[in-house]
């Protein structure tokens, strides 16, 4: 794989072709990277003016939001310079709590069954096929499912609980697949060692295999969760887009979430709203960055032990 192949090519024409080809590849990769950088730069440059103290401060009370903490805790407003993301931030935290508490037991449970206990037969194969297909179903369809099942059938109404459960359905296949990978990575010697020492299958799995797979499972959960908090479309059916300007206090109260709030702000034509929407996107991307770093940290910190 040295560059000599290039030089010893029969004709100079060939060398030019080689360079052109490599150049094309470079361009393609560069475009992908540049787009991401442009996106981040655009959002940062528009949004930070909104979050730094460039604004005038009112005489008696602050009438403009000019720092991140105020932005995070203040209610939405009809005026772009006073609008905070408080209720949406609280809504997203609620959603995260619900999604984690439902997805983690079901997701890891299903993974443990499929990886460790399931017989290799047609039914298992069918479940696996189902999981692959569910992962490819567009998220709006999960929204319709949530609308029919949680909002109407179960009677949860357009609430944060319905929203959380809908997002759970959405990321469950992802979490199951990731947890299975984590279990697969546990060396077979651990299983055989436990069985050889007289442990039952159940003990071998739950006392030896699962504990060593936990970091991988948590990583999968965090990645699934970061997908869930960025989702907008399914939550629209949960009534999250109506003007919700209060903090949800029970699982059954109405809610809005950060991406929905951002979508809302994007919809207003005035230029000032663009800054507010960018500030919301900065918060959203910041959250995702923290969660992905957490996932990478867990993976690097604990996987060495295996």
């Amino acid at each position: 794989m040295s560059n000599e192949t290039l030089i010893t090519g029969k004709k100079a024409e060939n060398a030019i072709k080689e360079s052109l080809f490599l150049f094309t590849l470079y361009i393609c990769v560069t475009i992908a990277i540049l787009t991401l950088m442009t996106l981040i730069y655009d959002v940062l440059s528009t949004g930070t003016t909104r979050l730094t103290s460039d604004y005038e401060v009112g005489l008696i009370t602050k009438i403009q939001i000019d720092n991140p903490i105020d932005f995070l805790t203040t209610l939405d407003s009809r005026y772009p310079d006073r609008a905070g993301i408080g209720p949406a931030f609280a809504g997203t935290v609620w959603l995260m709590i619900i999604v984690v508490s439902v997805t983690f037991p079901f997701g890891t449970g299903a993974a443990i069954y499929l990886q460790e206990f399931a017989p290799k037969n047609k039914i298992t194969r069918f479940i696996e096929l189902n999981l692959t297909n569910l992962a490819g179903v567009p998220s709006v369809i999960y929204g319709l499912l949530g609308l029919a099942v949680f909002v109407r059938l179960a009677g949860f109404g357009r609430s944060v609980l319905s929203g959380g459960l809908t997002l759970t359905l959405l990321i469950l296949p992802v979490v199951i697949v990731a947890s299975r990978e984590a279990l697969k990575a546990v060396p077979d010697t651990i299983r055989q060692g436990a069985l050889a020492l007289g442990a039952t299958k159940f003990q071998a799995v739950f006392r030896q295999v699962v504990p060593s797979a936990i970091p991988g499972m948590v990583t999968g959960m965090v990645l699934g969760l970061s997908r869930a908090i960025g989702e907008t479309a399914p939550l629209i059916f949960m009534g999250a887009l109506t003007y919700v300007n209060y903090f949800p206090d029970t699982p059954l109260s109405g809610f809005t979430a950060i991406p929905i709030q951002v979508y809302n702000w994007i919809g207003y034509p005035q230029a000032e709203w663009k800054e507010t929407a960018s500030a919301g996107i900065i918060l959203l991307l910041g959250l995702l960055l923290i969660m992905n770093s957490l996932a990478i940290f867990i993976r690097n910190r604990y996987e060495k032990d295996l």
Partner: protein, 309 residues
């Protein structure tokens, strides 16, 4: 021997506690939930969609032949062809962007990049894959449209199919790139080495040996990317606009299946109205389209994996 077996049975019996049974039941049920979710998706979509077609204002023929989609108008028309054609149109624009960029990135990553460059570029693609679609929608509307589309094609409206399609294309680059990359890496090294040993250059090796060898995996990535472009919602809702009639002008607004699902649900659509049921008719139309594509992609991907095992 029998005594030993009896003894072992007794031992295992004392060890099997009720909690184990409960846990085993729970994890088995969780796994079967996957089937339950699939069934409930199909069931809810179907029942409400059947209600939709039972409405006298809707005809099966009208659904597939009318050329306007105006469910909330006085004289509603339900021409799904308008929505399907817009959806496919935007998806094709997205594919024109993402197929070459994704595939060439994959070839670069697997055939040319050093380990160190790979370590930098892979995470960048992962970050790109993790950006929420609402952010891409914002980017399409507030950056791509004014800075690219309107600069080079003056007179284009704020909402247009072109910028939505480009943004969707950028969104699916990572999907295409990572699956194609996997496919190229699955090709045995002996093929690559053999080609180089016979004096082929790296370009010839990439294009004439590696590309055909990984073709089925690459096609699978294309189909999956296309399917994701069809199901993409927020970008087309934010940047694609709503133009409820048949048209094929990339500069004008369009109305995809997904964006009309969102817009119908935003309006006043109480349970049981035709507009509400229309949501589910659109839902099942979308579901069938993406389902066929996903199955196809999975089938092709499975086939190639066998080839080299």
């Amino acid at each position: 021997m029998e005594n030993v077996n009896d003894l072992r049975d007794q031992l295992t019996k004392t060890i099997t506690r009720p909690i184990e049974k409960i846990v085993k039941f729970f994890i088995t049920a969780s796994a079967f939930a996957a089937i339950l979710i699939s069934i409930s998706i199909i069931f809810t979509l179907l029942t409400e969609a059947i209600n939709f077609f039972q409405d006298p204002a809707v005809t099966f023929k009208g659904y597939f032949t009318a050329t306007r989609w105006t469910p909330t108008f006085q004289n509603p028309e339900y021409g799904v062809i308008v929505l399907i054609s817009s959806t496919l149109y935007i998806a094709v624009i997205a594919c024109l962007i993402s197929f070459p960029l994704g595939l060439f990135s994959a070839i670069y990553l697997s055939e040319f990049a050093t380990k160190r460059t790979r370590k930098v570029i892979k995470p960048v693609l992962e970050v790109l894959a993790g950006v929420p679609t609402v952010v891409f929608g914002y980017f399409a509307l507030n950056w791509i449209t004014p800075n690219i589309i309107q600069r080079f094609i003056p007179g284009t409206g704020v909402f247009n199919a072109l910028s939505a399609g480009i943004a969707v294309g950028i969104m699916i680059i990572p999907t295409v790139a990572s699956i194609s990359d996997d496919a190229l890496n699955a090709v045995p090294n002996s093929l690559r080495n053999g080609s180089l040993a016979l004096g082929a250059t790296r370009r010839i090796t990439s294009l004439k040996i590696m590309f055909p060898a990984a073709l089925s995996g690459i096609i699978a990535s294309f189909i999956l990317g296309f399917s994701r472009a069809i199901g993409e919602t927020m970008i087309v809702t934010i940047a694609g606009g709503q133009y409820p009639e048949l048209n094929l002008d990339p500069r004008s607004a369009m109305y995809t299946i997904t964006s009309s699902i969102v817009n119908v649900s935003l309006g006043d659509t109480p349970h049981g109205t035709t507009a509400y049921n229309a949501l589910f008719a659109l839902g099942i139309t979308l579901f069938i389209m993406t389902f066929i594509l996903n199955i196809g992609s999975d089938y092709i991907a499975r086939k190639y994996r066998k080839e080299y095992e």
